[in-house]
Symmetry: C2
Subunit: 362 residues, 2 copies
């Protein structure tokens, strides 16, 4: 006797300006009078929750804020998730209710996991307010919290019904965060699109202006590349792993150096180190590593690990990586600028921890 | 731009005796050398965990026990789930790891949700050791914990890769629990299969003997009926709701009378009350209610609510039910013995709480 599986689901993604009204209109079509929770951290709630709640209530939706503290990676844990879930229950968010994640990667990850777990999965919308979330974390349905020192160890795949990326919200994003998020754009270009990489190289400064057309174009191109991969491999059985480039080292660096490095900064460093790994393992050209270093510099992203880094803690954290298979670390590596390395049907390569640590000490 | 959804997945279901070896063999094909966690409560672990761990280790799998306390409905909460997840991490259960749920409904629900959340979803196997789990809760991929007083408020749909129902394990199940689980068989028959209902009526005593063929036949027939429904409606968008018959009142009764009623006993009472509701709302024949009462009596299941019941607490609990839509309670009701009531494409009917409370006071 056999039991069957889940039906597919689609998610609309929109980049633009002035999208709050549009998001509220879409929420009405999803929630139709049921309770709506707008989930964000204190900072983002202070800037934008009022505006979104107003737009939702003007359309007759009983919308309430859920604000969690502390924001940032430190708050992305089991306890915060439990509190958000209790808040959803108090507001009366049931099966036909709706969660709107308003903010960067952390509110997105927590809200999405709360939506995945509330009544075994309810509808949710993402409104990313950071370049990082717009380029990467709001797309593709990965949600998670950290646990026992390991990043995103607890989570779910739960596609949002829509992503509204309002670039106007980047006006309140600190420049350092705006730059950090671009590391995900660089990652996507490095692994999948040599043309996009050249575009980034040609005018890196333009990417830092959220009102100009260049950033929006780059984000949309990124999203389109990711959509293609997620369509073929939502659950990361294979190909989707290429989007983890920079993240195997990056996640560990982020945790080991916390709170010194932002996620995107750690990914930038991770990409650089993984390109050097790739030079040895995949024949990645050293010029590629140089191009990456120049681009990261031009974007104001770090290219050297913090001096204070505890390397033994780093090694320990890497060995906890979810992608480890039969005890070995697995890295998604580039073959050339714009193309991932693929061998024997495998999108990741086994790497000895010692080799990674040697390169780090250089 | 659109993002896509999840691929379907299949789950093999097997009823029989001496299935521990078979389960261990299947585990090898899934985990292939990676860490395996055998999750159960103290009672079941004492009886069967050793045997299963031995069978797994004999096949070269690094298998470790995860035992949670307290067992029973009271332990099915957010804190226990968090502890089980930490244990999985400590054992080193990663993406390619495996969870085996060994026990009744509570270990099944907690283990399944832990498997759903570990690394965003890893493989798991169910080995139900109660009639309740064999007839219902181990099948269909529903996993959950209770929260804020409401049953199964936090959960996920996560199909196991296989269900091995070894009827030998029922030898250690207290008779009261064996009887209670049969309420789920009665429910399935009442809603979906008049022939099965007659079979149950024809020799109820035979169902209490786990070594005889009758119980296994009834469980298999139940599973087949459920498989058909889950195939058409895994996420309970519609038809699957018929399997909640008896549960809307049952869940609330179970919580309000805790720990006096077992889940199955509460479901038996819920079925009886919902048949009386159905008499008024769907034209369900009063003879059907009488047949149900006789069958429950013959199976040693309760037909009257405990005198000590706090009815105001019960009303409060029912209003928290996940299936409430736009604030109204929704009941899956029978039309006749063996057929669910369906009107205007809806598998559940709106019911005023007052009507339910009136019937309860009778």
């Amino acid at each position: 006797m056999e039991f069957p599986g889940s039906p597919p689901k689609r998610c609309a993604v929109l980049y633009g300006s002035g999208l709050f009204e549009e998001a509220a209109g879409f929420a009405v079509s999803l929630a139709a009078g049921a309770a709506v929770a707008v989930v964000s951290d204190e900072t983002v709630a202070g800037f934008y929750a009022g505006r979104l709640l107003e737009a939702l209530r003007a359309r007759g939706l009983p919308a309430e804020p859920v604000v969690f503290t502390p924001g940032g990676e430190a708050g992305k844990n089991w306890e915060t998730l439990g509190e958000v879930l209790l808040s959803l229950a108090k507001i009366g968010v049931g099966r036909d209710g709706l969660v709107i994640a308003l903010g960067g990667g952390v509110p997105g990850d927590i809200s999405g996991l709360a939506a995945a777990l509330c009544c075994r999965g309810i509808a949710w919308i993402q409104m990313p307010t950071t370049t990082l979330a717009m380029a990467d974390s709001a797309l593709g349905g990965k949600t998670a919290v950290n646990s026992g020192g390991a990043k995103n160890l607890i989570g779910a795949f739960h596609q949002p019904s829509a992503v509204f990326a309002d670039l106007d919200t980047l006006a309140t994003l600190p420049t350092r965060h705006l730059r950090a998020g671009l590391a995900e754009v660089v990652k996507t270009a490095l692994m999948l699109d040599g043309g996009l990489f050249e575009l980034l190289e040609s005018s890196p400064r333009d990417l830092l202006d959220h009102r100009g057309p260049r950033l929006r174009q780059a984000l949309e191109r990124c999203a389109r590349l990711k959509a293609g991969i997620v369509a073929r491999d939502e659950r990361e059985a294979g190909e989707r792993a290429v989007l983890n480039a920079g993240h195997t080292v990056g996640h560990a660096l982020e945790a080991a150096a916390a709170p010194e490095l932002l996620h995107g900064e750690a990914v930038a460093l991770g990409l650089l180190l993984e390109c050097r790994l790739a030079e040895r393992l995949t024949g990645f050209p050293p010029e590629g590593t140089q191009r990456l270093r120049r681009l990261l510099n031009a974007l104001g992203l770090p290219t050297a690990v913090p001096r204070s880094l505890d390397t033994s803690r780093l090694a320990e954290l890497m060995s906890l990586d979810k992608k480890a298979k039969a005890g070995k670390l697995r890295f998604a590596l580039p073959a050339t600028v714009g193309n991932p390395f693929l061998r024997g049907g495998e999108w990741t390569s086994p790497v000895e921890l010692d080799l990674v640590m040697d390169l780090l000490k250089d």
